[in-house]
Symmetry: C2
Subunit: 142 residues, 2 copies
């Protein structure tokens, strides 16, 4: 059984609450995490909620990185979903753990799209692009 | 132990490949799924990839719904991450299962942000809004 993708579900506890409540900081760290893991950023959307908490997603050519923060509990839920062999989501995880100053973490890695296709190569979605600048999408709607 | 959120990881196999390759259809179904589950849509981003496959995220006030499709395998990976008691992600799941004509599904529900806060009420991020129209965010950057 091969898998089309893999997903790290990361629980970041005992983080820096101020960082978790800064939409600019959270966005910057999530985009940096994507770059560090060799992912290709397609689009980023981040929102700061009232009274507190940030939600955001970095859509990458290789799937997505998502975050939801609860600064009042110094907690962040992070998903790192990637496909292909070139992207290493664990590099993103380590970077974010340090960036958010998480003193307690829990992780789970899950295979997505497991299929019995022995002998044939699985196709990954984003083999055509090199960098964010020359990213070519056939259609985009937001 | 209470949890701040819950997340359904859904594997949709044996779907309608044409639907999975239509960015308009996938976006429409994902937004409809959010509405059916009583979630409040903040922003939607969807992309059609070359040669095929759709990636998209509906950011909701209660977290996010995400999808990645592999039409060539008639497969879609769907995440339904919600917080609070008012949103029922399983309604979204049932709607999407029907919409994508999935003949085989696998699901996993995971608690996110489990904490020992007995006796106090957990705060959910989005208690202030009613509809998409009167959604008030203190800051947004995309």
């Amino acid at each position: 059984m091969q898998a089309l993708g893999r997903q790290i579900l990361a629980e970041f506890f005992h983080c820096d609450g101020q960082i978790l409540n800064s939409v600019d900081a959270v966005k910057m760290f999530m985009q940096e995490a994507a770059a560090i893991s060799q992912a290709h950023i397609v689009q980023s959307v981040f929102h700061l909620f009232n009274p507190h908490g940030v939600s955001g997603v970095v859509v990458i050519a290789e799937s997505h990185f998502a975050i939801h923060t609860w600064p009042e509990y110094r907690y962040a839920a992070v998903d790192l979903f990637t496909c292909g062999e070139q992207v290493d989501p664990w590099k993103a995880f380590e970077f974010l753990k340090t960036s958010f100053k998480a003193n307690k973490v829990m992780t789970m890695e899950i295979k997505r799209g497991q299929m019995d296709v022995k002998g044939t190569e699985l196709h990954y979605k984003p083999p055509l692009i090199k960098t964010n600048k020359d990213l070519v999408l056939t259609e985009a709607s937001a």
